[in-house]
Symmetry: C2
Subunit: 286 residues, 2 copies
């Protein structure tokens, strides 16, 4: 496994692979890798000849009062995991390598960035779209792998890649969750590290609430407001979490739904003291 | 020569060329080709194994009251010229092919888009940056050729390509001008078609004024305001043109200069009835 920090070193390696008709798979991350990332990496490894993992805590996707500085950085552990999974290349650039002085260009995706997390994190998705566009140009992957936990991010990146004609297929991999113990069901996230033992346990209620909502829809409930109310009460009654939003939107357009129909994304963000957690499920309503 | 209208058809042709280690040269245009474009195409042809010309009148770079509808479209003549120059591929997409319904993504370059033409054409350079980013992803050229007449466009596209890590070199080719007759010195432009015989003659004053400014700088003038005043009087006294702007800026940062120093871009835009003409020169001041 190679750890590459400069674009200039990375490019010829990938160009050579392309000329040898190797397919390139790519997993962009901010590091602090967990089993969710491992799932992406395994898929990437399985489906491509050459697997590239990028680790870059992207400053432009953090707001001025967000956790950019304290976001977990765990290089040694991340490298070990990548090695274990037989990843070929880790791209590990500095901030200066990605945003050299005099940097001026941003990619914006309209409409899809306005609600859900976008409403509470202005500029976040512009930062995400910009860095992913850059990484796609640097790595030029055949296939890129993203995690469904970041549902809005997946929709926005797919739209951006399609709109700007990136020659890269994008695959979305299901959310990985805690499988046992008190926090069973909790979606894996690097930010779970901010949680106390008690909060981890409480945070498992997010997924339980989403599953309950799904069950209610199965039983015939079609009013978004009823579903939102149900999830709200589950979370506010059983936990110390502060709800930021709970929304039912169309899973493709991300536009809010009053009546549930088609592919429905039920998404939420909840604060547990220092940790802002997000989770979601997609329910297909006939 | 192939004329290709769909991205789906174009991509495999170019991928095949890449695998054969052919270099791809690219000239993006809005058609209505003239000798200025021919210069770009000749350079492209000479320096690459495969030459691609795109012709697309890009709606997103026109303002609501600008000349999108009446912009000259001369497919037959353009195809003949490209054939004569042995261009390999013309990419001639429809509007729907480039901006399919539901299109949402835009590329913006900050600061460089604020003055010169950007001040009078809000959104213009966002449209330009977006379509060029798309075309670079579609064609994936080794080298792209742009004309110096659109000086601000060249600086913005170079910045965008560098910032977003496009693996494409950008070469800027000198402005081609009328070489004889009444309009000698007039920069070639598709919009010159909007000019009457009398206006063509008058419009030649733009370049004469720029050359006079250069001569004054050579003689020691360093105050931008003096140079601007000189150009202004040349144009307003000798022609019916309405000056939109005359600016002296740093040729790289495009920031206005009070005292001329380094690589100075002197740029102007002048309206002749229906035609908005632009021109510029770069003067290196020691």
């Amino acid at each position: 496994m190679k750890i590459v920090t400069s674009i200039k070193t990375l490019r010829p390696i990938l160009t050579r692979a392309k000329l040898q008709k190797k397919t390139i798979g790519f997993v962009p991350t901010m590091g602090a890798l967990h089993e969710g990332h491992a799932e992406l990496l395994k898929r990437c490894k399985k489906e491509n000849n050459l697997s590239v993992l990028s680790i870059f805590v992207n400053p432009t996707q953090f707001g001025p009062h967000e956790d950019f500085r304290k976001y977990p950085r765990e290089k040694t552990k991340d490298v070990l995991l990548a090695k274990k999974l037989n990843i070929d290349i880790i791209f590990y650039p500095s901030e200066e390598e990605i945003y050299p002085s005099g940097y001026l260009t941003y990619v914006k995706v309209e409409r899809l960035t306005q609600n859900l997390c976008g409403r509470f994190r202005p500029g976040h998705f512009q930062g995400v779209a910009t860095v992913v566009a850059k990484l796609m140009n640097i790595v030029s992957p055949d296939t890129m792998y993203l995690g469904q936990k970041d549902a809005q991010q997946c929709v926005i990146i797919k739209q951006m890649a399609r709109d700007l004609n990136f020659p890269t297929a994008i695959k979305v991999v299901p959310t990985v969750r805690e499988t046992k113990g008190d926090s069973k069901g909790l979606a894996l996230s690097s930010r779970n590290k901010y949680l106390s033992q008690q909060e981890r346990k409480e945070a498992a209620a997010l997924y339980r609430a989403l599953c309950l909502a799904k069950e209610k829809i199965r039983q015939g409930v079609r009013k978004a407001s009823s579903i939102i109310k149900l999830i709200k009460s589950c979370i506010s009654e059983g936990t110390s979490g502060q709800i930021q939003y709970i929304e039912c939107v169309d899973a493709d357009s991300l536009q809010p739904l009053k009546t549930l129909r088609g592919k429905v994304l039920i998404a939420l963000a909840v604060w547990f003291r220092k940790a802002r957690l997000i989770d979601n499920i997609i329910v297909t309503v006939k």
